[in-house]
């Protein structure tokens, strides 16, 4: 194990620990600095909806499956770019053509998602005329 | 609306007609006033002076005629405005007052019914006018009048565990 390898390892560990501290730190700080309880008059602070009325039903609701499009477009744009960032460090070190081919393959597969979303009409913003179904029933 | 007020009154009277008549039309004005004339139409239906009372027709019915009267008014196009009660403690009766209005013609009709104070119970209007649901709950809250067939006569304005009826004349608090 040579010097630079241990150096890099220490850097990565430091950043990892720093990230963990960043995530867990607020919990610790709040636990130490905030009031332990809040004064009660009817013991209702634990109600899962912050409202004066008794909640009816559960907080877990079913929502439409069409929101998968948001997840797909997020993966195609944001996660794609996230994985491309470390590529900049190692690109072209040995075989530039192989690296280019791998890059094009990666981006090409993820761009299929964009083509799918495009065909679904996600990127076109048009005013929907109110149809009979969109008028709420009284 | 092609009917006139007099025709409406006549038709309402016809709709409430029973043989023999259930409520005789009062011959004189129920509320005294100078120069006031109430025009009896029949079967408890009267045309009254709108400027004085704020409504056009006043009909007194038997409790069992409340639902048919409401159904007839609904067919003609009336909407229910409010339901309230009056505690006639010295007569030993409770009176129910139903206010209806016609949104297009602008007519206001009042239907009244009297029940015994010891057993105040009338049928519910909530099948015909869903808005009557809350008005009947309020009337039950404050007068203790029970509405047969009402889905849920829980306290409306009073706390959930209230067992008193504050607008009764013998409520002392």
């Amino acid at each position: 194990m040579d010097e630079t390898y241990i150096n890099d390892l220490i850097y990565v560990c430091a950043f990892g620990l720093g990230g963990l501290a960043f995530a867990a730190g607020p919990f610790v700080i709040v636990h130490l600095l905030s009031a332990r309880q809040t004064r009660q008059s009817a013991n209702k602070t634990g109600q899962f909806v912050e409202c004066g009325m008794e909640p009816i039903g559960d907080a877990w609701i079913r929502y439409s499956a069409v929101y998968y499009l948001y997840a797909l477009v997020f993966v195609a744009f944001a996660v794609d770019v996230l994985y491309l960032i470390p590529v900049a460090l190692v690109y072209g070190r040995e075989f530039a053509v192989r690296d280019l081919f791998e890059l094009l393959l990666f981006v090409g597969i993820l761009s299929l998602v964009i083509v799918y979303a495009w065909r679904k009409g996600v990127f076109a913003w048009s005013l929907k005329k109110p149809t009979a179904r969109t008028v709420p029933r009284s | 609306m092609t009917l006139t007020l007099e025709e409406l009154a006549a038709q309402l009277s016809q709709a409430l007609a029973r043989d023999p008549p259930s409520i005789p039309a009062p011959a004189v004005a129920r509320r005294e006033g100078e120069g006031e004339v109430m025009i009896p139409v029949g079967h408890g239906v009267q045309v009254v002076d709108f400027a004085r009372h704020g409504y056009h027709l006043d009909a007194t019915v038997l409790p069992q005629d409340l639902v048919p009267a409401a159904a007839w008014l609904d067919r003609v196009g009336f909407a229910l405005d409010t339901i309230t009660g009056v505690d006639w403690i010295h007569a030993g009766e409770m009176e129910l007052v139903y206010d209806y209005f016609h949104p297009i013609a602008g007519w206001r009709v009042v239907i009244r019914a009297r029940v015994a104070r010891s057993e105040p119970e009338v049928p519910t209007l909530s099948e015909i006018f869903p808005g009557a649901n809350w008005h009947e709950r309020e009337t039950h809250d404050f007068f203790g009048i029970r509405f047969r067939g009402h889905p849920d006569l829980a306290p409306f304005l009073l706390p959930e565990d209230a067992d008193y009826h504050p607008l009764r004349k013998d409520y002392a608090g």
Binding site: H31, L32, L33, S34, A35, R36, Q37, T38, R39, Q40, S41, A42, N43, K44, T45, Q47, E50, C51, G52, M53 | P155, L157, L158, P159, E160, A162, Y164, P166, A172, G173
Partner: protein, 169 residues
């Protein structure tokens, strides 16, 4: 400013500050976020106090929070009926320490004009439900009176008054 014990509950934090407490109290006093809890006519005066002419924003108190978990002070503006009492108590419970209560108007102080022998509907004063820090009398109190109530609460927190007390000549 100390967090009171109520019903034997100790609400103070684990780490307590000493000199920094003054700074924290100054910060809290200048950013009291009220819970929108207008129940009746006093709510109109509360809204007027939050609007442009009387301007609660210069005291940091313009940001009325709809959620009790984000609010510091509950301004009970209006009559509390027996039916509404549980809702008010629930909202008070859901506020987080440090929290304060301002009882605005005669109804919140003692039931107001609705108290008579044999009344069945009104809770005679919100301090029957939970502890109150500032009482603002009036029916309804003017927006200036609500502002004075906020200043009194600030004085309660920091020990110093922002503006000198004005006495009539």
């Amino acid at each position: 400013m100390e967090l009171k014990e109520a019903h034997g509950q100790d609400c103070s934090p684990i780490v307590k500050f000493a000199a920094l407490d003054e700074l924290l109290a100054l910060g809290r006093a200048n950013s009291l976020w009220p819970l929108t809890f207008g129940l009746a006519c006093c709510a109109i005066e509360m809204m007027a106090a939050g609007a442009a002419r009387f301007d609660l924003s210069r005291f940091g108190a313009e940001v009325f929070r709809p959620s009790p978990r984000q609010a510091d002070v509950m301004i009970v503006a209006g009559t509390v009926n027996r039916k509404m009492a549980l809702a008010v108590q629930t909202l008070y419970d859901q506020m987080l320490e440090p929290k304060w209560v301002i009882a605005m108007g005669n109804c919140a102080i003692s039931g107001g004009p609705f108290v008579f022998p044999g009344q069945y509907a009104v809770i005679e004063g919100v301090d029957k439900l939970f502890p109150v820090d500032v009482f603002i009398p009036g029916c309804p109190p003017r927006p200036e009176a609500l502002i004075e109530g906020i200043l009194v609460l600030e004085e309660k927190l920091t020990g110093k008054r922002r503006w000198p007390r004005v006495t009539p000549p």
